[in-house]
Amino acid sequence: MRSVLSQHEVIALPAVGEPFDPTQMHALGQKIDDKIAPNTVIQEVVRGYRWKDRILREAQVIVAVASKQEPNIH
């Protein structure tokens, strides 16, 4: 299936480990994770695809957040 797609230049969008990109990903939620840089994709729920420079379907992902928000500066 994947190889048929790539013959037609349909390419799976990289997601896990990448910074969240609102032009090709759709966020489903956040997950607290201090071992990973905030705003990094930690889970791909639905794979996204691109054909040439057109997004056929955005990847649906979960994004890391730090356990504590930085303190506010007043």
Binding site: F20, P22, A27, G29, V63
Partner: protein, 529 residues
């Protein structure tokens, strides 16, 4: 005179429309999308995001994404994005500016004059804030127009006779009903009621809960986990199923690998009947009918005083919504056209009127006769065979798909005969036959227990496809009728034509049979698959 535009600045979606030869059309973005999600955000790298991209990041970064700003208009709410705080006017101006740019790039011309719509219940402060938003975005705001008035104008710009129109608007997150009086160029909202926390989002959540229950039933009580990803999948599946049920009597929801339990993966697979969904949302819809009564009382009117009902908002695509409104206001013609674009189209018409352009109401293709099948029906005289059961009512805007579920009428019934007719007579045979077909080899079951879904699909070329499916084993058959009559009319002409024809028939009842015989002669060839 430059180009003028109309803008529907919505809670969930916004759009911009303009006129071509007096007819309104919605300007798409470069992806071809007509609706701009009403979201504004700042990306991780401090880039402004508007519309789709801001909506996509919402769940990842709610602290730097703004949605539903319309609910804050006219308040002193402020929101911080990046290193600056913004007023509701400023956030709305970002949406308006993005729509302005979209229009300027498609039309290759600078655009300054706009009509912007607001709900009828908006206060002066909320209207003023909306006007300011337009000015910040670089528009000269020709008028702040009430949304229901805009919708009514799509059907009756410049009606000669004064008309009372009830506009029923059920969107994603808000509901309102208004009574608008249109007399020539003068329009007035006589009454308005609603609930700004009721809409399609609530229906999605009801169905999401129902799907979770169905999952548990199928998997020995295993609960669906409450984590964001699983719940988001379930909610999306619910919205898709909801939309499918607007066109079909049944739909199947499939979410493979919804839950993994140890090594085993559990799938969600459930068939949802339209009736199940209707039972979930009926209580919410009852409230909307009460709002209709309150609006009528406030305007000192009864249903008889209404000339028309206009349905607006994506959620009015749900057949039950149409049915409940129709039966709550018997005898009042119900119109709808592009329910999610209608307000913006009307705003563009009004902008044209203000700029002195010649404008005209929308032309729509409609079914001039009701289309349906012969069925056994319960009547005050008992069960009667060969009654006409209309599936697509006359004057429905095409293309359209509708379906209805019927039951077998006696024990061990082996076949059903689907006889298709067009017309308005309660006795099927008194209407024009369009063809018939059978579904055979039905599984043996007691009468009334076997369900047959009959689906009518009427496309823009006037081709009617009728499909009947037996629900148990999926036996089906279908029939295509070519050259079914269609008619192109403005809704205003439609009412006049209807009145003219009705009076013609009253004057010459004896000619009815001849007329029907003629129509039957023209009626289409049919073929069985």
């Amino acid at each position: 005179m430059g180009i003028v535009v109309g803008i529907d600045l919505g809670t969930t979606n916004s759009l911009i429309a303009t006129l071509d030869d007096g007819q309104p059309w919605v300007i798409p973005d470069d992806e071809g999308d007509l609706l701009l999600p009403s979201y504004v955000g700042m990306s991780d790298s401090n880039q402004l995001l508007v519309g789709q991209s801001a909506m996509r990041q919402y769940a990842a970064a709610p602290e730097r994404t703004v949605k539903s700003i319309k609910r804050q208009m006219g308040t002193d709410y402020s929101v911080t994005l990046g290193d600056r705080t913004y007023s509701p006017q400023e956030i709305s101006a970002i949406l308006l500016k993005s729509l302005k740019q979209r229009a300027e790039s498609v039309l290759a011309e600078e655009i300054t004059q706009a009509v912007i719509t607001v709900p009828a219940y908006f206060t002066d402060a909320q209207r003023q804030a909306t006007k300011e938003a337009g000015e910040i975005a670089g528009f000269e705001v020709l008028q702040i127009l009430n949304e229901p008035t805009a919708a009514a104008l799509v059907f009756d710009v410049r009606a000669e006779e004064p008309e009372n129109v009830l506009v029923y608007d059920l969107g994603g997150g808000t509901f309102d009903v208004s009574i608008v009086e249109i007399a020539g160029d003068v329009t007035e909202v006589l009454a308005s009621h609603g609930n700004n926390r009721l809409g399609g989002d609530d229906f999605d959540r009801q169905l999401q809960r129902h799907l979770a229950d169905r999952f548990s039933q199928a998997h020995d009580g295993t609960l669906v986990p409450t984590d964001a990803a699983t719940q988001a999948r379930l909610l999306q599946a619910a919205e898709q199923a909801k939309m499918a049920l607007s066109d079909h009597a049944f739909t199947t929801v499939r979410e493979p690998f919804l839950v993994s339990e140890g090594d085993a993966a559990l799938h969600l697979e459930a068939e949802i009947a339209r009736e199940d969904f209707e039972n979930l949302i009926k209580p919410l819809l009852k409230d909307t009918l009460e709002a209709i009564d309150r609006a009528l009382a406030d305007a000192d009117m009864t249903a008889e005083d209404l000339d028309r009902v206009v349905l607006v908002g994506g959620s009015t695509r749900i057949p039950l919504v149409q049915q409940l409104v129709e039966s709550h206001l018997p005898g009042v013609p119900v119109s709808s056209f592009e329910v999610d674009l209608c307000v913006g189209l009307g705003a563009a018409l009004q902008a044209g009127v203000l700029a002195g352009e010649a404008v005209s109401s929308i032309l729509v293709d409609v079914t001039p006769h009701s289309l349906g099948i012969a069925a056994v029906m319960d009547t005050p005289m008992g069960r009667m065979p060969d009654m006409f059961s209309a599936i697509i009512p006359r004057n429905t805007v095409i293309p359209t798909s509708r379906s209805q579920v019927y039951h077998t009428s006696y024990d061990y019934q082996e076949a059903v005969e689907i006889e298709v007719y067009q017309g308005e007579n309660a006795i099927a045979r008194e209407n024009v036959p369009l063809g018939s077909f059978r579904v055979e080899e039905l599984p043996p079951k007691p009468g009334g227990s076997l369900q047959i879904e009959v689906h009518f699909d009427f496309d823009l070329n006037g081709i009617l496809t009728v499909t009947a499916t037996e629900k148990g084993q999926g036996k089906k058959n279908s029939l295509a009728v070519n050259d079914t009559e269609t008619r192109r009319l403005s809704s205003h002409d439609l009412n006049q034509a209807r009145a003219a024809i009705d009076s013609l028939f009253e004057a010459m009842p004896f000619s009815l049979e001849d007329l029907e015989a003629d129509l039957a002669g023209e009626s289409a060839d049919s073929e069985e698959e």
